[in-house]
Symmetry: C2
Subunit: 404 residues, 2 copies
């Protein structure tokens, strides 16, 4: 339940921040049971400002992959901070990290580090336009690539020309993709895709291999660049680039969120063919070469290579999915569980306004299990079988509660 | 002198990063004497990868205001990191910091935190367009507001419509500003200005109060918003908003770099009139509510309020400026020292290609004093009279060297 302290913080926030808490962390469209603020995080858990504990299936909307406050990752951060972080030049750790990334991910020949995921998708846009000398971007309806004017999903504050030179198509629809590319005429600079369809509210979709392959072919035929935006799903589907398993290697990929297990770092990576163009655009930021997040990323990538974090999260995620399905059925509910099990969206059948989903997740959060009613969720490697068992017990109780 | 290790790192960087080190930290257009990488930073000093020490007049291009590795600031960061940093919701520290900012800076009623300076200028653009329902931005020729396509200074990777709805004018030229506003017709959303003219290479200029006041009047007359971009100069001219001393309060201000003394944090601040619009745009980033940089910013702002960091840096800066003038004259050189003493650009008279400036700064860096040949420089509070004396001795020796 929202506590007096949380309400008081929300009131204070509304005084000094536009709309109070803004962006994707706002609980404004969720049950009032959700706490807005957190005092502490460790492993798979969060504590609100009155000390209530939550098993967190949002993982900070992705950055938390190995567990909050990961000792080894944070020790690397703190050690590098003591040496030097944001300086008048990069630290050697920038080179080490780029080399590590190139060694680790097939199809990646170079890395351009930045700060937000949106910095990386914007650098991809600019690299593709410079590489091709063309302007048009083909991307999917409803896909999120950041909140800058060129990719904002809403129109508030977006100028009349900010999304010029863009053509939209339906994800996973080969014919519609071909139509969009044809419509670009000779002006196609890039096809932007998410590795999975992970738009908010609506069902998620895994990529159809035929769609992925056709996107690659269309780029090869036209000289455009294929951009896979791994910011949200990166390192959660595979240890490499998200489409590699389908035999599709993009020219450019964007990464962020989990790259340094929660420390602020993002990256645009690319193939050699696009390297010259990437070196000709001028993109930069005050904190992009900060060394401490890079030291944290070096440890994060090593742990990704050396541990079973991926198999572990997938196994737990499938256990949760199976368990939720059974529990829902027992109570006479039908769940829509879409997307990869470890990046799940969970909603109710026949619930277009998400009323059942809101009621159920609102009951769950009160029981200490943080599910999201309309955004895909995330697993982290710090979760245990015991956590999933606990979540299933509470989910069952929440089903019973909303049925009553 | 560039060391073998630095050269080797540059070679490795060129293999795995586009163009090697990119953006404003690249030393590609500077004397080969400049080290590209740094292993360590503390106070006012940097150490390159072979342990050579430099008195650093770049301060990481601005983020370092109180000294590198500031113990109190970094302790706040590390303590908050142990509690929780990037989480599924903000920490209460976000509210405390916004309240502190509002209390501290006149004309600031609310704060929207983000990560890069460019996030803040982009949020200003979107807020102004939403507030006015209009599109056109008037801004100054050559002014840097970030590297996103809408504000990039070059054209590499910039699409044909990315800078539509923008009209340029000459900084400090009231008539030209009036011409630009007139040209916007009824479509003016905002006037964007830097608090000082701090374009690269060319002489800096302090704002003419008549220009600042006219910008404010033109916004009042048209309903457009006045945006002062404090990212680079914020808290280096005054403890408040950069134009307040001239009696000009902007509707929106962007901040970054020094806000958390080097930790990644930026902010858009505004007056109440623009708060509704700021709450209606959707802007966000994975790391924008990270609590550790906010805890660092809380300490930074307290130190700014409680110490003489500003008077100290101005006094040392004026001492350097006076000393450099005298030393240059002694050797028969004329220096152009423009901008505020504490954000100085130092070039040579009659040196349009910066050959003398490059030779002199190249000699200086070899003597352990890091000046920049074409970008404005920065002072930090960790500098001492002894540091300035040392810099002046080395500057004198560098004048003698290039004369020979």
């Amino acid at each position: 339940m929202t506590t007096a302290s949380d309400r008081s913080l929300k009131d204070r926030a509304a005084e000094v921040m536009p709309g109070g808490v803004y962006g994707h962390l706002s609980t404004g469209r969720m049950s009032p049971n959700y706490p807005q603020f957190f005092a502490r995080a460790k492993g798979a858990h969060l504590w609100d400002v009155e000390g209530r504990k939550y098993l967190d299936f949002m993982c900070a909307f992705g950055p938390n992959l190995l567990g909050y406050g990961h000792d080894e990752v944070n020790a690397a951060y703190v050690d590098q901070l003591a040496l030097g972080d944001v300086m008048t030049g990069p630290s050697p750790v920038a080179v080490e990290l780029a080399e590590t990334f190139v060694d680790m991910v097939d199809g990646v020949d170079w890395v351009l580090f930045c700060k937000n995921g949106n910095d990386a998708t914007t650098a991809a846009l600019m690299t593709a336009r410079k590489h091709t000398g063309k302007a048009t971007i083909v991307r999917a309806i409803g896909a999120y690539h950041g909140s800058a004017p060129w990719c904002a999903l809403g129109d508030a504050g977006v100028g009349p020309h900010d999304q010029a030179d863009q053509i939209f198509h339906r994800y996973n629809d080969v014919e519609d993709l071909e139509r969009a590319v044809k419509q670009a005429g000779g002006d196609l600079a890039a096809i932007f895709v998410s590795p999975i369809k992970h738009d908010i509210i609506i069902d998620q979709e895994l990529p159809d291999p035929a769609y992925a392959k056709r996107a690659r072919e269309l780029c090869d035929e036209t000289g455009a660049l294929l951009v896979v935006d791994n910011v949200r799903a990166g390192f959660r589907l595979t240890r490499g680039c998200s489409w590699t398993a389908m035999g599709v290697t993009p020219d450019l990929s964007s990464w962020g969120k989990s790259l340094a297990n929660g420390h602020a770092l993002s990256a645009l990576t690319g193939a050699n063919a696009a390297k010259t163009a990437a070196s000709q655009i001028f993109v930069t930021g005050s904190f992009w070469f900060a060394a401490a997040p890079m030291a944290a990323a070096l440890v994060t990538l090593r742990i990704l290579r050396e541990t079973d974090y991926l198999e572990h999260t997938i196994r737990l995620a499938e256990k949760l999915r199976t368990g939720l399905h059974a529990a829902a059925q027992n109570h006479g509910f039908g769940l829509r569980q879409t997307g990869p099990a470890q990046i799940p969206l969970v909603t109710f059948e026949d619930d277009p306004e998400l009323k059942m989903t809101q009621a159920w997740t609102g009951a769950l959060v009160q029981k200490g299990v943080y599910f999201h009613p309309y955004h895909n969720m995330f697993f982290c490697a710090a979760m245990t079988d015991g956590d999933i068992d606990h979540a299933l017990v509470q989910a069952d109780a929440a089903f019973a509660e909303i049925k009553a």
